[in-house]
Amino acid sequence: MALSGMRGLSVFISDVRNCQNKEQERLRVDKELGNIRTRFKNEKGLTPYEKKKYVWKMLYIYMLGYDVDFGHMEAVSLISAPKYPEKQVGYIVTSCLLNENHDFLRLVINTVRNDIIGRNETFQCLALTMVGNIGGREFAESLAPDVQKLLISSSCRPLVRKKAALCLLRLYRKNPDVVNVDGWSDRMSQLLDERDLGVLTSVMSLLVALVSNNHDAYWSCLPKCVKILERLARNHDVPQEYTYYGIPSPWLQVKTMRALQYFPTVEDPNTRRSLFEVLQRILMGTDVVKNVNKNNASHAVLFEALALVMHLDAEKEMMSQCVALLGKFIAVREPNIRYLGLENMTRMLMVTDVQDIIKRHQAQIITSLKDPDISIRRRALDLLYGMCDVTNAKDIVEELLQYLSTADFAMREELALKAAILAEKFAPDLSWYVDVILQLIDKAGDFVSDDIWYRVVQFVTNNEDLQPYAAVKAREYLDKPALHETMVKVSAYILGEYSHLLSRRPGCGPKDIFNILHEKLPTVSSTTVAILLSTYAKILMHTQPPDPELQQQIWATFVKYESFIDMEIQQRAVEYFALSKKGAALIDILAEMPKFPERQSSLLRKAEDPEIDTAEQSALKLRAQQQQQQQPSNALVVTDQRPVNGAIHASSLSLVKVPSMSSNTEVNLGEHQKLSEANDTLSKVDGQSSPPADLLGDIFGQLAIEGPAASSVSAEPTSGPGGASPRAADALALAPLAEQSNTVQPIGNVSERFHSLCFKDSGVLYEDSNIQIGLKADWRGHHGRIVLFLGNKNTSPLVSVQALILPPAHLKMELSLVPETIPPRAQVQCPLEVVNLRPSRDVAVLDFSYKFGTTVVNVKLRLPAVLNKFLLPVTMTAEEFFPQWRSLAGPPLKLQEVIRGVKPLSLPEMANLFNSFQLSVAPGLDPNPNNLVASTTFFSESTRAMVCLVRIETDPSDRTQLRMTVASGDATLTFEMKEFIKDHLVTIPTAPPAPLPAASQVQPAVSPTALTDPGALLVGLL
């Protein structure tokens, strides 16, 4: 049919199809590519038709999987053709061959724009489709207003408007700033009155994206969505062509319900009632029918309705109806429905009150663990993992263990990890936990990571009652014929420590233990050999009175390994041999290992980390569940609540009053004096090994309330619940010091953590023995969203949790509600919205406090919402760079400074540093090889997107000095950027704090000296 005119293309396709083998195909393709290349080279001779034909051939070759690295230009240039057939091919092939990051696309932005704003409807459609499919940021910035106009224009036909809606969706995804919320929310609401269902479907997709980012602005759309849903569900005024197997557009129904799920709740009682009527109708009225497509479509609607019901937190009756439906689904034969039943039941776990009903289906879910379909097995595993608690842990874990021996390799690691976590979390008694892990190692040793066996060792070490039992078990496993090496490791370790507890039992004397372990020695790897040598030394130490024969044997082994190729083993052999000659001294040196400090299970961390876990969804779910369920957990109860190094300390400390504390209560002290006192305290503190952040916090809190900064604190719109106001900070600041410091010390260097977060967007902000504060950030233009993850590491709740943001004047920050209590081992997520108003290097501070037992912990943490987060690198060519550079002449827009005392960096190192700030270094742009130029775009509300240019001139003979020139269209930006770069060039982030600046000499710096620099903290407020 349509190919009549494209003979060349058909011939080529048949040729390729007739090739006997891959080699022939490649030859044919290479020949064609050569042909196309020569034809394109003398382009003048090509007719539009030929050009079209070759471009299609290229796409076909590309689809076959061959690299097509030329001819892109020809495809792109067809877009500018005046006639429809060529233009159509240009647009379609371009959007198949290139992705949004391709440079050629920039060349056609103008042509595309002309097509969009032009009068030709068919051209508009082509252009909108391509931009909708591959448009990137640059398209978003230059085309969004035009696309918006088309979408709301009354003179455009539906076929253009529906494309405009989805095109705008694409542009919005690439840069949310292109849709101005204020004006657009009313428009959106009007668009939902649309009668044409094609346009409405596209508009609804757009709405879903808009409300998912900002539901507040689109409240007026909510009742309209409910109306649309009613119209569809009642099949009222739906044209025949929009029903699909008798169902009024199932897609639009699904989309509408999806949009509704982004609104936190439906407040208006009438709207709520109509919505629930519709939902009820869907829940009750969906039957299983014979036609597959009708069935799928109606169930697509049903599952979306279920999700919406869950989201709206309906009455219990409706919820149990949902669970009942899901219970039915997980038992049906149709695999899709079974899969979705399991998936949605896992989501349902987040709803409180229904867990018990779900537990009734446990047997059925376990059956699904043996389903022939791996997709279904994965869902079943996830669901079992989520629904596990103390009551059913034994059953579920034993099922998982049993399944482990037959499970496919793709799932074993996940399965082993999950079983280990559940056993740890919900162990009814510890001996069972030990049993489970040993079985796990026995059945799937290859899939048991080291973390898992380390963890069991920790438990055994910390629980005396458990030690004999573990030793017996380890001994039993050693009798098995084929033993996994991990089992050798864990048994050797446990027996080395605790086998003396068994020495009265038959077969458990030191000699027996040694002999059975020694059998394994020849076959194990060197890490295990090392463990075995330690075990031998321990056995020797425990054998009192010494058994000369055993002694000889072990010494012989040590001697044998004294010349072993592995250094570690050699050293161990030499040292153990020497030590064991010492007799009694050995007992002290090789005494039992002390208890491990209580810490978060590294396994849990592993399961929570979506980057490591292959099933990202399950990790997310897990996290959500932990917030929701707070199931009682036994896990850490096990590890002995006796504080390892804290409590005794604390009580003795509470008797001591740090003298400087009194200064805090004396309000009429001059600010200078106070700061210098503060400095004293600090320098004292610095001498100690740990930096008690709280001390600083006190000083800081005090000043914050007095100084002019108070305004910026109170300007902060929402604060934590229950009086986390400046007053509260005041109260804390005045609380007796002994109560709040020194008992809990941060793990890791708080300052280093801050600095590393300045250059990446997720990581740990703070950690101590009770809490871990993680952070994930997402930056778009001048907006940012930081999510704080507050994780309680303990088995008891953290109470009086307060988080207060102290934003500098240039940032608008809004922290969502922080719960007052963090339940045991739960993690709470607190989103924090950031808007950058203008350029500044000041830093925002999070004032965070909680109470654990009687200890109040208060820390001030700098938040990595720093200048470079609002940068987006731009690469510039010489033609773009130099005109701009020249047009920005002299101060204050262009500033130059000679900087001395720079840490010496080679140019590539400096370029790396710049790239890490999001300054894009343009190599070779500057004719002098010792110079470096870079460019970036800075985003803030006052400057909007503004290009900023930097030039560094270095002196190859003296790397400690350089000349820097910074230019931008905004004087403040230029200055701040210059200082920002300087800070990073001059100081080494981990260097000790410079002499503390006097209070008057306010030096607004993103100084890398973290909490130990009150200047930096102060500046955050001023």
Partner: protein, 161 residues
């Protein structure tokens, strides 16, 4: 959203690819290689969903061709499964009981049709009638242009005779 659409034959040959998320050339080949392995090896009576690298792939086999669409974890799987069927029905109507050969020799048509159904990885039009009408209009535009061109060349050849 739909991140990409793949049409793969039972022999592992690619019949159509459409990417709505930015994948580089290298990533595209990798995705195709991995997914062909996963999907082609699945038995007939299993569900239509495969979990893959934090995403889901919804696929359905029609005769010798697998239609695959990759979506986000939280998207509605059945809805996408029926988008696939909707696409197939439109192809069927256009070609008159479509077969793999139609799609091989007229792959460009398949792209035109897909562009009328999906934009930005979202469903654009759920009326088969409307899509058919738009495609017919495009075809006739191309035809008219061709006739014009040939009539012009006729005039020229006559005039220069």
């Amino acid at each position: 959203m739909i991140h990409f659409v793949l049409l793969i034959s039972r022999q592992g040959k690619i019949r159509l690819t459409k990417w709505y998320s930015p994948y580089s050339q290298k990533e595209r080949s990798k995705v195709i290689r991995e997914l062909s392995g996963v999907i082609l090896s699945r038995g007939p009576k299993l569900c239509n969903f495969v979990e893959w690298r934090g995403h889901k792939v919804v696929y359905k086999r029609y005769a010798s061709l697998y239609f695959c669409m990759c979506i986000d974890q939280d998207d509605n799987e059945l809805e996408v499964l029926e988008i696939i069927h909707h696409f197939v029905e439109i192809l069927d109507r256009y070609f008159g009981s479509v077969c793999e050969l139609d799609l091989i020799f007229n792959f460009h048509k398949a792209y035109f049709i897909l562009d009328e159904i999906l934009i930005a990885g979202e469903l654009q039009e759920s009326s088969k009638k409307t899509v058919a009408r738009l495609i017919a209009a495009q075809d006739s535009l191309v035809e008219t242009a061709k006739e014009e061109a040939s009539s012009i060349s006729n005039i020229i050849s006559q005039a220069t005779k």
